[in-house]
Chain length 181, copies 4
C-alpha cells in the first residue's frame, strides 16, 4: 500500500514538514510513504492561462501521483484560520483536470501549529473543499499537533514527542485499515 | 469616501470582474470606487522567501491601498467550495506585514457563480479568515449572484440584470452608511 | 435495502416534510423508505437529567431505527444559517448513547428553503457534526431545493417540480449504489 | 455598562457555568454582569406552535434582557463539533420575534471544553449564525478554555487558573472598550 504525503508549507523548518519527515517511521508495516514534490513555483490559477498554455507540468505530475496512490495524507499549517493559499491554489489547478484525481480517493488530514488549536480550523475548511472533489475523507482519530515547537526534536525536522507520535501512528493504522477494507 | 475593490478572479471574462466593473455605477453618491491591481504574478507564500527577500512589491502596494481606503469590497468566485487559492495567497502575504491593513477595516463581500449558490460557500470561509485579521465584515444584505451568465450584458463585462444591480446597490448603500456612521 | 428519513422540521406544512413525503416515489427499486417519528417533545439535552433519569424513550427508539437502517437521509430546513436547534438537540442526545448509531453509518443530506440557497449552509454545518459522529456522509450530487414554494404541488405536501424530483432521484440512486457497493 | 451572560449548558457542574460564575470578578470596573436564566424547559421550536400559542414566556423574557443589555457574552460548550441544540433552539425562537434583539448587538463568545480545542468549532458555527442575526461579533482576543477540568477550583464552580482568568479579563476589557467606543 502506498500513501502520498502532500505538505501544505514551503518553509524548510516547517513543523508540518517535520511531520511529513516522520511519517515513514509511524506508518504500519507494508505501508510505503511517498513525499509529493513541493508546490513552490506553481503560478496562481488563471483560467485564461490554462486555456492558452494548458496545465503546469508540476500540476500534471502531482495529479498523476495522487491518482496512483492508494491514499493521500495532507499535512498542512493553518494560515489565517483557513487553508494556506498555496495549497489551495494547487488543489484549484488539480480540480480542473479532466480526470481530477481526488474523486473517490481516500484522504487523511493532519496539521501542526505553534498555537493551541493545532491547525484545526484549516482541517474543517479542507474537509468542505474535499466534498466538492468527492474525496472520501477519513474522520477519526483526527491529528492536531498543538504547540508544535515543543513536539519536534532539536533539529526541528522530526516529531520527537511520544504522545504525538502515538496519535499519528493510530491515525495511519486506522486509515490504512480503511483503505485495505 | 473611497472603497477599494479586490477581484478574486484573474480571468478576463470573469463574472466577478463584471461585478467589479459595474460597481462605480451602483455606488452611492460621494463614494469613489478604486480597483485594486491584479494579484497575478504574486508567488506562493513561503516564509523562507519572505525572510530572504522581503515582501513582493505587489503585496506592499495592495496593502497600502487597503490601509488608505475607507472600506474594502472583495468580489470573488468560489473555487472548490472555498476561497480561490490566489486570493487566499494574497491575503496570506498581506497578513504577515507588520501593520496588517485589514485590522479594524470595514469589509463587504460579493460573489458570482455560474451555479445556484452564487459563491456563498466562499463567503463564509472568507468571513472566518477575516476574524483572524480582525476586519469588521459587513453582515446583511449579502450579495450572491447566482446563474451569473444570465445576469451580464452581451459583452459579458458588466452586470445588466436589474434585480442584481438593485441588490448590489442596496448593499453598497448600507455599507457606506456603516462606514460613515 | 431500507433508508430511514429524518425530517428537521416539525411544521405540518414544511417544505422539507414535503420532500420526505415524496421520497418513496423517487427511491430506486428495492429501496424501502421509512419515516422517523417526529422529535417534537424531546426535551433540551441536560447531562444532569440524563444521569438521573436516563434517555428519553423517543431518543432510544430513534437510535434503534438508525442502527437498523442501511442508510439515513436527513432532510432539514436551515434556521439562522445553521442546523435547526431541535434537530441538533436530537443528535446531541443520540451522540451520548453507549453505541451511538451514526458511527460508520451512510448518511445523505437534503434541504429545502424558501430562499435561493436552498438550505446549503445547514448542510455544511451538519457535515461537520457528522465528522464527530464518524458517519460516512454522501458527497455528490447534493440536493438543495431553493425557492421551495414553487416546487411543491397545490396541497403543499409533495414535490411536484420535475427537475427537483430528478435531482432527488439521482442522489438516492447514487446513495443506494454506494450503500450496496 | 451592563453585559448579559448566556450559558450554553444546563449541567450544574458545567465548566462553562464555572466561567459564567467567574465573569463578575473579571469584568472591568463599571461593567455589571447579569446572568440570563436557563433555557431548560423551552420546547423545541415548531412554527405551528408559535402560530397557535405564540412565544414561550422564557423566550420573551430572554429577548427583552438581550435588547436591554449593552452587550451579550455567550459562554457555551461544544456538542458534536457545533453549537449545543438547546442553545441553538433558544436562538431559533428568539430569531422569530418581530424585533429580534441580536440585530446590531455587540456579542462576545467564550467556550470551555474538556479537550484540547476548548470549544473552538462551536464558536465558528455560532459566528455564522450571528451573521444572519446581524449581530456585531467581537473578533480577538478569542477565549477558548481547553482541558477545562484543570482550570477550575476544587468546587468546580469557578475558574481558578490565573492564565485563563487573564485571558478572559483581556477579552472583557477589549469588548467593553468596543461597546463604549
Amino acid at each position: 500500500m502506498q500513501l502520498l504525503v502532500i505538505c501544505g508549507s514551503l518553509r524548510t523548518g516547517s513543523f508540518n514538514r517535520a511531520i511529513c519527515n516522520t511519517l515513514p517511521d509511524l506508518a504500519p508495516e507494508g505501508c510505503e510513504i511517498l513525499q509529493a514534490p513541493s508546490f513552490g513555483g506553481i503560478p496562481v490559477y488563471n483560467a485564461d492561462t490554462q486555456g492558452a498554455e494548458g496545465f503546469p507540468e508540476q500540476v500534471i505530475e502531482l495529479a498523476a501521483m495522487i491518482a496512483k496512490a492508494d491514499g493521500v495524507v495532507i499535512v498542512s499549517p493553518e494560515y489565517n484560520f483557513s487553508v494556506p493559499g498555496g495549497l489551495k491554489n494547487t488543489i484549484d489547478w488539480i480540480s480542473r483536470l479532466p480526470d481530477q484525481p481526488f474523486k473517490g480517493k481516500q484522504v487523511a488530514l493532519q496539521s501542526a501549529a505553534g498555537g493551541m488549536l493545532g491547525g484545526a480550523r484549516m482541517q474543517y475548511h479542507l474537509r468542505q473543499i474535499m466534498v466538492f472533489l468527492e474525496a472520501k475523507v477519513f474522520t477519526k482519530p483526527e491529528v492536531f499537533v498543538a504547540f508544535a515547537k515543543s513536539k519536534v526534536d532539536e533539529s526541528g525536522t522530526r516529531i520527537a514527542d511520544e504522545t504525538t507520535r502515538e496519535m499519528i501512528r493510530a491515525q495511519l493504522a486506522a486509515f490504512a485499515a480503511d483503505i485495505g477494507g
